[in-house]
Structures are given as C-alpha cells and as structure tokens.
C-alpha cells in the first residue's frame, strides 16, 4: 500500500497543515482585493503570500516556499534525503515564469526552466536524483501523487517527496483576466451567482512510502486515474467525459456509501462546476457530499491537488466534511450535495477531483487505514 508519512502546507493561512486546517475549519480566507499590484491595469482578488517573509536572495519565491514546505514535512520524519532511494516530484504549472519579464534581473534566466527550478530544490537537500516535474495544468498536484504511487509500486525508491507549488505574477493574473475567468469578488463555487475563480499562492508537500501493513490512522493513496475529455483545449466537456472516466477508475469496486465526500475542483467558473456536477452524477456519486476549498485559498494551480488532498485528510481525521465557503444556492443543473456548513462524518475515505486546460482530469481515492 502507498502510505502518506508526512505533509505540510505553506499558504497565506498558515505554515503547517494543522494551522491551515484550523483556519479553514473556522471559515477563514486570505482572499483580498489588489489594485495596481505588479502594474496590472485591472484590480483582482487573490490569496497571496506576504512576499516580505521570503527574502532569501539565493532562491526565488517559488523555490523558497518549496524548500520551506519540504523541510517542514521532513522534520516529521527521519528520512535520509541524500539517499538515491528518495525521489523528488515537483508539481507546478508556471514555476519561475516571472523571470521572463525583462525588468526582472535578480536571477539567472535559466531558472525559468521548470527542471532547473526543481534542481535548485534537490541541490539544496543534497538529493542525487534528477527531479521529475509534472506540468499538467491544474491537475498537476494529483498527477504528481499518481506518479509517486507508480514509482513506489515500481520498487526503485523508498520514499517519494511530492511538492506542489505556484505563486502568482502579472503573467498568470493577466492571462486569466484576458480569459474573463476571474471573479471580481470572492469566488462562489457551485453557486447560482458564481462569476469565476480567484487565484492563490501556495506550496504543499506530501511524502509517500510503500508499506505492507498500515494502522487505522495512516492514510493510504488507494487508486488514481488521469483521463482526457478529447473535446477542447480550454473548455471542459459538456458530458464531463474525462472527469467521469477518472472518477470511475479511482472509485473501482468501492461502494459510494463508503466515501465521506468528493473534494471537487470547484473553481467557481460557470463551465467547470457544471461539468463536475455532470461527471459526479454519471459516476453514480450524486449522493456523496461535494465540497470545494477555492473560497479559502483561491485556485493554487500546481499546489491545488496536493494542498486540497492534505486539507481533506485533516478533515476526515476530524470527522468533518468542510463547508464550501462562498456557496449559497446550488447553481449547477445536476443535483449534487453541496453545503456552506461543516458537517459531521464517520466515514474514512474521500476522492480528490481536478480538471484543467488541455482537457485533462484526475481523480484520487484516499482512505484512512486503507480500504477495508
């Protein structure tokens, strides 16, 4: 079984997983309106890290949050990270893309390459392996965990360190603005009045290993799948094709009654949330509670799949189905069970669902104590 041995989240809501979960449970959000930031002509709402807290001149902001997050996860273990039996997998969409701005002169241009950014991280930790960077748009964080499961099943590595990261910049924000995908206010996942997404900064780390036996409190990554809509590069499928198929594989033979909740992508764009409701119903999961964490963090892109898996694990530990911040009235055509209130659960499994540009979709089934 593939088992989580440690995790961490660095976000505007805290610098440990516990701090982050406590903030989310209390309904907090770091979403704020920014006007004139980075010279952007239009204001935007986002969840941003305090840049003044990351002042190391050797590493970019991305690299610093990754190194901090991985360090804090490693502190919980006695893993020898200099061993060739440890593999680093970084999940990111845009990495150090801010370096393309001609006004940026603080770092060598080669650091814009995702593999070079990842090498800064493995070099910092003294790890001898070439790092793998998964760059699959918004589903990267779940893809990176599926990669970790496969590498560990393959037997070549003892530990895989998965770190998802993205930090916002003029490049990313202006792009989403040009797409008219951003909400002017705090996002409202699955709501009838949703107007789009908010972006967010974060890094999140999960360390996985393979074990023959687990105890009741250990988290098992049971199964995952990545599927394509084969429909459009920037719009989700009207039949939820890829998400439906990924859900079906991740679920396997498990009865839907065993699942505490589906932590959806729930970006609060019109088309994404509608598509997810279709896919969830098609997969026979309409009776399972659905939530989205975007109202707390915004869309943290390459970090989202890792961060949202960690928060969901913490919620199941706490017998809690987190409320969907920003949600009021169901605004998708298929009846799914969304609430803005925290709800109690005694169930031990959840599904993390994501979808992204390029028509890609990913689902991951996690179970506390494994599938019984």
């Amino acid at each position: 079984m593939i088992v989580c041995v440690a995790h961490n989240i660095i976000s505007p809501l805290g610098s440990t997983s516990a701090e982050n979960y406590a903030a989310v449970k209390a309904g907090m959000s770091a979403l704020k309106k920014y006007d004139g930031l980075w010279g952007l002509p239009e204001p935007f709402m986002a969840s941003l890290l305090d840049r003044n807290k990351f002042t190391n001149e050797e590493y970019t902001l991305d690299e610093q949050v990754v190194i901090t997050s991985i360090s804090k996860a490693l502190e919980q273990t006695n893993i020898d990270v200099t061993s060739s039996k440890v593999l680093f997998i970084i999940s990111t969409t845009k990495g150090n893309v801010f370096l393309l701005d001609k006004r940026e002169t603080g770092f060598p241009q080669e650091r814009v390459r995702l593999g070079m950014m990842a090498r800064q991280v493995t070099k910092h930790f003294g790890n001898p392996n070439e790092p793998i960077v998964v760059s699959n748009a918004c589903i990267s964080g779940v893809c990176a965990q599926i990669e970790a499961m496969r590498y560990l099943e393959g037997g070549e590595y003892d530990y895989v360190i998965v770190c998802g990261v993205d930090v916002q910049s003029a490049f990313i924000v202006s792009g989403f603005q040009s797409f008219k995908a951003l909400s002017p206010d705090e996002c409202k996942p699955f709501d009838a009045n949703r107007q789009g997404l908010n972006l967010g900064d974060a890094a999140a780390t999960i360390i996985y290993t393979k074990k023959d036996k687990v105890n009741d409190n250990e988290w098992v990554a049971c199964s995952g799948a990545i599927r394509n809509d084969a429909n459009h590069i920037s719009g989700p499928s009207r039949t939820g094709e890829g998400s439906f198929r990924a859900l079906r594989i991740a679920l396997g033979d498990l009865e839907p009654e065993k699942i505490a909740f589906i932590n959806a992508h729930g970006t609060a764009t019109l088309y994404n949330d509608e598509m997810e409701s279709i896919a969830i119903e098609r997969a026979g999961l309409a009776g399972v509670p659905v939530n989205s964490l975007k109202g707390y963090y915004g869309h943290t892109m390459g970090a989202a799949g890792v961060l949202e898996t960690i928060i969901s694990m913490q919620a199941v530990y706490d017998h809690n189905i987190l409320g969907t911040r920003g949600f009021e009235t169901l605004g998708v055509t298929h009846q799914i069970d969304v609430s803005n209130q925290n709800r109690a659960t005694e169930k031990r499994a959840f599904i993390k669902l994501l979808s992204g540009f390029g028509g890609c979709n990913a689902a991951l089934l996690m179970a506390k104590g494994g599938l019984q």
Partner: protein, 183 residues
C-alpha cells in the same frame, strides 16, 4: 515494446529510422509536413510551436500504424516529456504584456502557456479519452523517460502509449523523438 518511432528536428525527419524527404527547414518544415501528410485539420495553424511539433509527429506516427478509425478509445495514453515546457508560447504571451503602453494580453496566446496542451491536441484529434500527461526534466534522459512510461502501464486501462520527447525553445529550434509503445 516500441512499435513505431518518429524523429523531427529543424532539418531532419525520420519515420521508423527512414529519412522523409522535405524541402523546408525550421518552422516552415512543420507547415510543409502538415500540407504533405495531413492537410485536413486547420486548427493546426492556431497552435503554438510545441503543439504543432507534437501534433505533426503524432500524425506521422499514427499514419505508419495505419488503420486510423478515429473511434473514441480510452486504452491509449499520451505521455510526453521535454526540457523547456511551454517556453516559446510563454515568451510570446509575455511580449503581449511587457510594455505597459501596449498591454494587450491575448487569451489565444495564453492558453498555450501550458506544456500539456499538446497532449490535449493529440487526444482531441484522435478521440483519446485515456491518460494524458506532460513531464519536464532538465535534460533529455532516455532512462528516466522509459522508466516513467513503463510504470504508466500500471493504469488498469492503458494498453498503449504515444510517448517520448517533444521540445522547443523557440519557433526555429525544436526536436521530437516520439514513439508508439505497447504493453
């Protein structure tokens, strides 16, 4: 097991190791390959260089495989690797926002600033509902690529993969080494 392979560089094209005749070089080579071997997919002209390259290479590969039905299937994955992610598209998009006096961010340019778009283009063309994935490593490394594709067959549905290297740093500098692999 590798069934077929395609190599494309700015001045050389090989299909299963045999050179394919052509007149053009660089970006014009990709257009020539499109006109000579495909011709019926005008979306090609909207693509960034990475997607054009991956699309053309996959078309040559699938033409050699033959028996193209375009029937939807879930058992074929598209898993590609490179060094520069979407650098050419990123640089192009950056040019639309660099100057505050001429700030015109383009959604058509922005959508290609993700390397996995090429895997989506191939999936759309061929109606592949299977896995699509994009992985970046800082140097071409056949061992890493083959290992990664080998473990991708752990997916319960995947029986074949269009896999390999598709890299470009700008419109004139690119390299594709892709292949069709069966379980």
């Amino acid at each position: 097991m590798i069934k077929h392979q395609v190599y494309i560089s700015p001045n050389e094209v090989k299909v299963d190791g045999k050179a394919l005749a052509h007149n053009e070089k660089g970006s014009a080579l990709l257009t020539e390959l499109y006109r000579n071997n495909i011709g019926d997919y005008p979306k090609f002209f909207k693509m960034d260089t990475l997607s054009k390259l991956g699309f053309i290479a996959s078309e040559l590969l699938l033409n050699i495989e033959g028996n193209r039905s375009f029937e939807p299937r879930e058992d074929r994955a598209v898993i590609l690797f490179n060094r520069n992610a979407s650098l050419q598209a990123d640089t192009h998009y950056q040019s639309t926002i660099q100057d505050p006096e001429h700030f015109f961010p383009s959604p058509a340019a922005f959508v290609y600033t993700l390397p996995n778009i090429v895997t989506g283009e191939i999936a759309i063309r061929n109606k592949y509902f299977g896995e699509t994935s994009f992985i970046v490593i800082d140097d071409y490394d056949e061992q890493i690529i083959m290992k990664n594709l080998d473990i991708a067959f752990q997916d319960p549905v995947t029986t074949s993969i269009i896999g390999g290297w598709v890299d470009c740093s700008d419109e004139e500098h690119f390299e594709a080494r892709i292949f069709l692999m069966e379980k």
